[in-house]
Amino acid sequence: MAVMVAATFIGSTNACLAQSGVVDARRFELRIENERIAGNVKTVQVQRDEFVELVWSADRRTALHLHGYDIEVTVNPGETQIMAFRARATGRFPVEIHGGRYAVLLYIEVHPR
């Protein structure tokens, strides 16, 4: 229940959600090398209302921004950073690298049920 409550207020409580470790989360491990995602992943698709965890690692310090849901993390080499949220809004949301260039790295597609 606590998890549900926390998840409802995405945006303010992402860290909270990530730490609590939601059981049924859709988890995606995404490795950034040379400002691209390894394995040539371009799009991640999830269903509305799913719990999503994007687990980021990178070969250099990288600032990431998931638009729409408006979540920002900065990944340092050798560590992972998690963007966790409940996919309550449908749409196609870009993740961009910030600082210097603004290339779209990945699109998160949240499909309606």
Binding site: A89, T90, G91, P94, R101, Y102, A103, V104
Partner: protein, 478 residues
Amino acid sequence: MKRAATPFAAALIALPALGDDALAHALAQRYDLPLPLGYFLAASGAVVAMTFVILALFWRHSDEPIEARDYTILRGTVPDLVVTSSQLLAVLAMTLLVVAGLFGNPGTFKNITPVAVWVIWWVGFGFVTAFIGNIWPLINPWSSAFGFAERLARPWASGLSFRARYPRWLGVWPSCALFLLFAWLELVAPGRDVPRNIAIAILTYSAFTWTGFVMFGRDTWLKNGEVFAVAFGLFGRFAPLDFTNDGRWRVSLRPFAAGLLTRTPLEPSMTAFSLLLLGTVTVDGFMETPLWAAVVAWIFAGHGSIDANPWLFMAVQTALLIAGPLLLAGLYLVVIALMVRISRSNLANLSGLFVLSLIPIAIAYHLSHYFSLFAVAGQFIIPLASDPFGYGWDLFGTMLYRIDIGVVDAKSIWYLSVVAIVTGHIVAVWVGHVTASAVFGDIRAAGRSQYPMLVLMVSYTMLSLWILAQPIVEPNTK
């Protein structure tokens, strides 16, 4: 407007607002999911099927030519008090946008000007114009301010205009040029989300418009050179409410699209303006498709990245913006030339008669394309109304409103798109047929004349649908 300010744009003009760059992207961004294959196929099937159904209906039932008739259902007068207070509000609103743009917070989302101009006015007011009625002539702030000035000056001068003779050949060509410039500012120009740039653009355009009023008289310039009056006038032909002025503002109610029926051909410049408007609406969506991204990548092969070569990217985007409407105009003229062959009319006459029948397709696409942007980005006006200058005010207690990106579900947008596109197409085919009946008299000739037009309409509708079914991507050459 929808796509993110490009990297070089950020580098060029967003320097004072670096803290806001994340937000600056958001205004530019649409989060629409592509139309799924099932919806795409259903809509395409319906479009083709309905085309034949309407065709069959017309062959059977329209034995007599349909003359231009009065479609008015109800008439009324708009009270002067309503008109004057709306005009006053419009002038104040424009002043606020200029002042906020010049002196307010430079952050795109901390200043009321970008959202108010691009989302609320250009998209939102555009919807009102097409689906309710074109109230722009009533509230046009440039026209209103000039009217107030003339009233103030009355004791000394009978008017503020030289009333020079407007050259007939010039037609609405000034508006064509201005619209192309406006579309370029909306779709290509770097820094289009920067409040100060928008304020400067408004001031420049104000000076230009008032010069036009002073030289040729307000009414003449509004008809020919005030690009928004011309553009909204075109969209407003689709709307059920029609506003006219005979000294007082009259309003009449008519069926949707009745204003698109005409027996008087448009002037060639107005035909060109319509094709330009139709073309840019499509280019706008096409610029975000993977196909266009691939074309950009192909052009950039060997020229480095977009960041390294921003001017080339701008040149490529500009070329598309010009080529798109030219291509549409070319195809349209081919269709009209085919029509000329089976009638005794000429190209100028027929091209001025049938261009309006394409408007419903563009309006339907425009609605499908922009509805979610309006619903999502439009919400920014709620906090910004409380703090228009980004100074930290909270006039109405809404400053902390957080926008809800889930306000409309993708499924609703898909249904809306399919219904809008199919309906728009049906209306277009209907307008084309009614016009043809009126022009050709003989129903068989009218029917035959429409074959090439139907091919164009189906293609234009399919192109709109296809764009909606494409995932939105940003050109990236890296």
